[in-house]
Symmetry: C5
Subunit: 95 residues, 5 copies
Amino acid sequence: MQLASVVGTVVATQKDPHLAGRTLLLIQPSTPHGEPTGRALVAVDAVGAGVGERVFYVRGREASYPFLPVEVPTDAAIVGIVDHATVERVGSSTP
Amino acid sequence: MQLASVVGTVVATQKDPHLAGRTLLLIQPSTPHGEPTGRALVAVDAVGAGVGERVFYVRGREASYPFLPVEVPTDAAIVGIVDHATVERVGSSTP
Amino acid sequence: MQLASVVGTVVATQKDPHLAGRTLLLIQPSTPHGEPTGRALVAVDAVGAGVGERVFYVRGREASYPFLPVEVPTDAAIVGIVDHATVERVGSSTP
Amino acid sequence: MQLASVVGTVVATQKDPHLAGRTLLLIQPSTPHGEPTGRALVAVDAVGAGVGERVFYVRGREASYPFLPVEVPTDAAIVGIVDHATVERVGSSTP
Amino acid sequence: MQLASVVGTVVATQKDPHLAGRTLLLIQPSTPHGEPTGRALVAVDAVGAGVGERVFYVRGREASYPFLPVEVPTDAAIVGIVDHATVERVGSSTP
């Protein structure tokens, strides 16, 4: 999963029926240290996240798992709100 | 999902039979602020989008969900037309 | 799906049995305007494409759909030959 | 799969129920020579890895396989701890 | 699929049980002309490839197909050894 910040919302009247009633949030992927990285995307919220919160999201087909048995056509879903992320070591590793 | 603008159309007589009758649109991924980002791609339309509209699309196997039970061999499908996208905060996050 | 040009062929005697008898083509992804972009890859042909033709291809698990019920282990399949692609608008979008 | 180093941990009280009880680790992808490459991500641990260890992880839907029959909504899972990786040749290949 | 050269091996005692007995190879993706491109990765061998050979590999869920009915948790599998790859045209295409 990737870390991200929730930065906005998306409203779409005309959409696939299986997306009806789902919250669509704009999220900005970020590093463990909170810097934005890569481009923002639209994710379906599965945990009640809100703008300003730090989350992690899942991509690909697994993004539809939280909504089973409904087959929601999404490739990104917020599956957790980060309480805290601890980076103990970032850099070269020579195990 | 990714935000994008519909920028053109693709016509293909010779194609996989499960793509027959589907609308193939050229879309240009874009940032929440509307700037183009990354390369254009071909998506199957699932919501009646047209050239000039702002949309979001789903990638991967989920792109075939809107057309089930037909197994359409596509990895990109337009699943919503954006009414408006609100960016409340983009930048570094220090939750 | 992505646009691409067929630029060559790949011959492999020793390969997964489910790839036997399939045509393996080298394709170069391209922009809607025909410029090469990204790295070339090997795709299974599902529509009878040949070297020099402009095509679009599907990636991921959907790439095996054209060959069902055989589960061909491929992540790229050519699913259409482009007659013409019309770009009506490429650039910033402010819907 | 990709090589990576385990560099930290993630704590999330509010998360998808199928992630409950799973260990979430921050991992930094690395080259065969141990240099960090690309951005850090959050992976579910399937082999008892700890911070400082060198591992390899699987992405995509396969990342949920180690936890079947539970459909864990993850797109990254640590599936092995590296004893040693031998690079016999890196560079241009002219077979 | 992508072209690659086999450049090394990975040994892991502690790993997902479904990977037991599988050969894990380090592969370096390459262009049709044999130049390395992108980062090296760990792939499960499905065709008896060895260090120094030129191969093509499949990514994503399809990477587990060669090992069915066992659900091997891998996202990369070597599915062919290249006898020769012929590039007839690489460059701009104006069909």
